[in-house]
């Protein structure tokens, strides 16, 4: 019984592999319906599964694959076209086979599902669609039908053709243009052999599996020169798979206007003594041109070469237990550490007797490490190969046209890493097809080709693997992201205005985010992108998104080559050494002397430094780790520019030591819980050093959004309250007074350098997004002296209606808040509609209409003229009942 299990296991393993190949082949075939070798290969695979399932008594599987085989045979022999429905049907067949195999794997038996519908579908799909197809099918069918007992030459030749066409299993027949091993019955001696072959063919109908011994008999008979029997081996033989190389006759049937009978006649002539190759005979008969024959021969040669090479490749591989490889990996890791120690010690010694062996050891261990790592490396294609089918199915389901391009399929990754990125990659691809790429109509209207392109690139760089997923779809609009972020309470308007477009776009990775207007069952549940990032960061990688509205989106993923051994930078802080994975390291800076002092600036109390014009937050490692260090008056400041969660920040350390490959050792559970350490390693001198978890560090230093911290939760509930309750107000400071502006009337907040302000007559304007933005100083409107620094950038609240905008200049933006309930009051002041208590302080409510008119007197006329002016925000003031102040 064990032996049987072993056979079943083998069957399952091989079949799974074959099914994966089938997926790829079918999708490729859909693109190139005429690729005959592909169709052959697909047919053969289904045929093999069918045969083995019959042998192992898996009845359902056999019936199912038989139906599929029927369809494939029709497609292969010409006549039926590969339509989308047929492709879908075949793909469904593959899925069904997988399902049954899974059931066999789990329970040893087939599952209980009823597949008769699918069988019916596959049979129905064999019906020719229209007359042309019907004719072609009939023609092809005629040449295959065995045993029509007509004594006419034609039909005899047809039978012979059937015989020759059907014989595939005999390994002897590989030679181009030569006749088959089984001789066809010579036509002239039709009398006696006919009856013989008649019997033979009847037997054949009974499905007698005529095996190898008949081939031998046929050869023997040929040697004897007698009329041999046509050893017609029926195609449904569960024997060894047929040879991979198509016959010249078959090829010519595809290429030229020949049918099986012509080929058979030519072969008969060969039997009768004509020494010429098959191709020549056919040309002579006028049934094929020399070019066609040449082409067919070339195709055959290619197929032969493929068959030969694929045979040798499969012989040269070996199945190895993954656990064994894990053990090897671990041992090599230990060896690397010991090697580091030996090399470090030997370097200090003068004795060459130690130096030479240690150098040799160094080289050997490096090579060994590379070799063992390679055993666990698999090409990324093992994950990517499933994508064409996924994209095809998705595109069909969403009504899109998408082409997938895979660049760098052979890029290798460690097996465990491949496992980890499989799901994130799939999700990203789904997103791209479902939400990224627009429908063909929209694309064409935008001047893009109707077919969208999804490109995946993978390549090695700097000890890491880079994966880029690019689509030429609609792109991610930062404005839409920003609005959603506010709605979900993930960011405040202030924070958003301080972010670059790229940082805003990266907000899609924050938990709880989803810009999909419709949640489809494919993606868009708001749990996708953050899980993608979490999974990737869990294996020590980083992910970043770059997008351009209307043009497309690119997702960049960087992952280490292996989890166990990573390139790292060692640094020193407060007398101890730490290691930082290079995957997180962007740059290294050293600020000396004056630069060190001046380089550090403070923004709202937080230290930052300027990196090529951008402000980057600065974090001191000893602060984050609560270390006390001896105050040293070091002239130089070392800054590591690190990246985590799409955010960059600078980490200040005492010294930068070395880059080296380190072996990651796990920490005990309780130390792991601290979070700031990704593990530990043993350095060259034998001492232990902690490996820093950059993302955790960033969170601890509040450089990135920490989804778990209490303060963020408060912020979220506050944001939620704002969203649910009365209209939120943007609180601004103007000349010492607090004013509230309805948030719904705030389109944008800008900081504009004073130098960009220009005068047009009495008015101030700024060139803004291709238009002239009139500016109105609220300080002037309210009759207050501005308290802002005259040289600092102007803080401008922009209101846009339709295509017209106006900018209101304030001293500072304070906050967003809601007014306390029933706190409204009347007040007589120019430019102000009333007061309310906001954040426990009396706040005046700005008369937006007046302010806008002050900036641009013709604003509302122009907007009304443009049609569709919506002045509803004012209703929030008009509708409210005003209460007495102080009650």
């Amino acid at each position: 019984m064990d032996e049987f299990d072993e056979i079943v296991r083998e069957f399952l393993v091989e079949s799974y592999e074959n099914l994966d190949q089938l997926d790829r082949d079918l999708v490729a075939l859909e693109q190139e319906p005429d690729a005959h070798p592909l169709l052959q290969s697909i047919f053969r695979t289904i045929h093999t599964i069918k045969g083995t399932s019959g042998f192992l008594a898996f009845g359902k599987l056999e019936v199912l694959t038989h139906a599929g085989e029927g369809l494939l045979a029709r497609l292969r022999d010409g006549g039926l076209r590969l339509t989308q429905e047929r492709t879908t049907g075949l793909l469904q067949l593959i899925d069904a086979v997988r399902a049954i195999l899974a059931s066999i794997e789990a329970t040893g038996r087939e599952d209980d599902r009823d597949y008769s519908d699918l069988v019916r579908l596959l049979t129905d799909l064999q019906t020719p669609i229209h007359d042309a197809e019907a004719a072609a099918v009939a023609l092809a069918g005629q040449s295959r039908r065995p045993g029509r007992a007509n004594a006419a030459t034609r039909s005899a030749a047809a039978e012979a053709a059937a015989a020759t066409n059907n014989v595939r299993a005999a390994p002897a027949r590989r030679r181009a243009g030569k006749s088959v091993a089984q001789p066809a019955r010579p036509v002239r001696r039709a009398a006696a052999p006919t009856s013989q072959s008649g019997t033979r063919n009847d037997d054949q109908d009974g499905g007698v599996a005529v095996g190898r011994h008949d081939v031998k008999a046929a050869r023997a008979a040929r040697k004897a020169g007698s009329a041999a029997t046509a050893a017609a081996i029926p195609p449904e033989s569960p024997g060894p798979p047929p040879s991979d190389v198509p016959l010249l006759g078959e090829l010519l049937q595809q290429q030229a206007d020949i049918n099986a009978q012509d080929v058979a006649v030519a072969m008969l002539e060969q039997q009768l003594g004509d020494d010429r190759p098959l191709g020549e005979i056919l040309v002579d008969h006028g049934q094929a041109t020399p070019d066609q024959v040449r082409e067919a021969l070339a195709m055959q040669a290619v197929a032969q070469a493929d068959a030969r090479s694929s045979g040798s490749v499969s012989d040269a591989t070996l199945r190895v237990d993954v656990n064994l490889l894990d053990t090897l990996m671990r041992l090599v890791g230990e060896l690397v550490l010991t090697r580091n120690q030996i090399v470090a010690t030997a370097a200090k010694q003068v004795d060459p007797a130690m130096q030479r062996p240690s150098q040799r050891l160094n080289l050997l261990v490096s090579e060994l490490q590379a070799g063992v790592m390679k055993t666990r490396m698999q090409p990324i294609d093992t994950v990517w190969s499933k994508l064409p089918r996924l994209v095809r199915d998705l595109a069909v389901a969403c009504g899109r046209e998408v082409r997938i391009v895979l660049d760098g399929r052979e890029t290798e990754l460690d097996k465990t890493i491949l496992e980890a990125i499989k799901d994130p990659l799939t999700h990203v691809v789904r997103n791209a097809v479902d939400h990224g790429i627009e429908s063909p109509e929209v694309r064409v209207a935008a001047g893009k080709p109707a077919e969208g392109t999804l490109t995946l690139r993978a390549y090695h760089e700097g000890g890491q693997v880079n994966i880029e997923i690019t689509d030429d779809g609609a792109g991610i609009d930062p404005a839409v992201v920003a609005v959603k972020a506010i709605e979900r309470g993930l960011a405040t308007v202030e924070e958003l205005t301080a972010m670059s477009a790229r940082e805003v776009t990266n907000l899609i990775f924050v938990p709880g985010f989803s810009t999909a207007a419709k949640v489809t069952n494919l993606s868009g549940r708001g749990v996708g992108m953050d899980i993608v990032r979490t999974n990737i960061e869990k294996i020590g990688g980083t992910v970043d998104v770059i997008s351009e509205t209307g043009v497309g989106t690119t997702l960049k993923i960087k992952i280490p080559l292996t989890l166990a051994i990573i390139p790292a930078l060692t640094v020193e802080c407060a007398g101890e050494r730490y290691a930082i994975p290079q995957v997180n390291l962007d740059e290294l800076l050293c600020l000396e002397g004056d630069q060190a002092r001046a380089g550090v600036e403070y923004l709202s109390g937080a230290p930052v430094f300027r990196l090529r014009g951008n402000l980057v937050p600065l974090v001191w490692l000893d602060h984050v780790l609560d270390l006390t260090k001896a105050p040293h008056v070091d002239e130089s400041v070392y800054i590591l520019v690190l990246q985590a969660e799409g955010q960059r920040f600078g980490l200040v350390v005492d010294h930068v030591l070395n880059t080296e490959e380190i072996v990651v050792k796990p920490l005990s559970r309780q130390l792991k819980d601290i979070g700031t350490y990704a593990g530990a390693t043993i350095l060259g001198d034998g001492r232990v050093a902690l490996i820093l978890d950059v993302r955790s560090l960033a969170r601890r230093a509040h450089v990135v959004r920490d989804g778990d911290s209490a303060s963020d939760r408060e912020q979220q509930t506050a944001a939620q309250a704002i969203a649910d309750g009365p209209e939120p107000l943007l609180v601004v400071a103007v000349g010492g007074r607090r004013l509230g502006v309805p948030l719904s009337m705030v389109t944008r907040l800008e900081e504009i350098p004073v130098s960009r302000v220009e005068r047009v007559g009495q008015r101030e304007v700024v060139q803004y997004r291709g238009q002239l933005l009139p500016l109105g100083h609220l300080a002037t409107l309210l009759g207050e002296p501005s308290q802002a620094d005259p040289d600092a950038d102007l803080r401008v609240v922009v209101y846009t209606q339709g295509r017209r905008s106006v900018g209101l200049v304030v001293d500072a933006v304070v906050d967003i808040a809601t007014e306390a309930p029933r706190s409204r009051g009347d007040v007589a002041a120019y430019g102000v509609l009333g007061v309310a208590v906001v954040q426990d302080l009396v706040t005046e409510l700005l008369d937006m209409e007046q302010a806008i008119m002050a900036a641009d007197p013709r604003f509302f006329d122009a907007v009304a003229a443009a049609g569709g002016a919506d002045v509803s925000p004012y209703e929030t003031y008009a509708d409210d009942t005003y209460a007495e102040i102080g009650s």
Binding site: P666, Q670, D673, I682, A689
Partner: protein, 144 residues
């Protein structure tokens, strides 16, 4: 009447015992790497033949002052949850053979830290051998 074997060690004036089969090895003080932000008691990390082992200071766990200058603790490596942990103690003692009759519940007079970390005691001549609860002692998350 089975005798059990305990490896013993001292921390301050207290004598502790751990069943011999739980002890992986003992060795002298080794240089350790500090772990900032770790809870009370984590003294550092040790390189034990290529494995990174956490060292837990028994003195800190028991709320005792550190050893005097010039004196260094010894390492007693035990296994907890299939992971090695090194307990830092003052000195290593002999192996004690005890019988179940000598076993007692933790004495009432013991309070605080000591009480939490022991599961009982064996009465020896003139002193008490406190049976250490290894899992609790090694878990710096458990406060004492």
């Amino acid at each position: 009447m089975e005798l059990r074997q305990f490896a013993t060690f001292t921390v301050d004036t207290l004598l502790f015992g751990v069943e011999v089969h739980n002890v992986q090895e003992v060795f002298r003080y080794q240089d350790m790497t500090a772990v900032p932000l770790a809870g009370q008691g984590a003294a550092g990390l040790i390189n034990l033949r290529g494995e990174v082992v956490t060292a837990v200071s028994m003195r800190i766990r028991l709320g005792l002052p550190p050893l005097a200058d010039g004196l260094f603790p010894m390492n007693v490596v035990v296994r907890v949850d299939d992971e090695p942990v090194s307990l830092l103690v003052d000195a290593i003692g002999d192996v004690a053979h005890v019988s179940p009759e000598q076993f007692e519940e933790p004495p009432e007079t013991m309070t605080g830290a000591g009480r939490t970390l022991i599961t009982g005691a064996y009465k020896l001549e003139g002193k008490l051998l406190l049976v250490l609860d290894i899992a609790r002692a090694a878990d710096i998350g458990i406060p004492v």
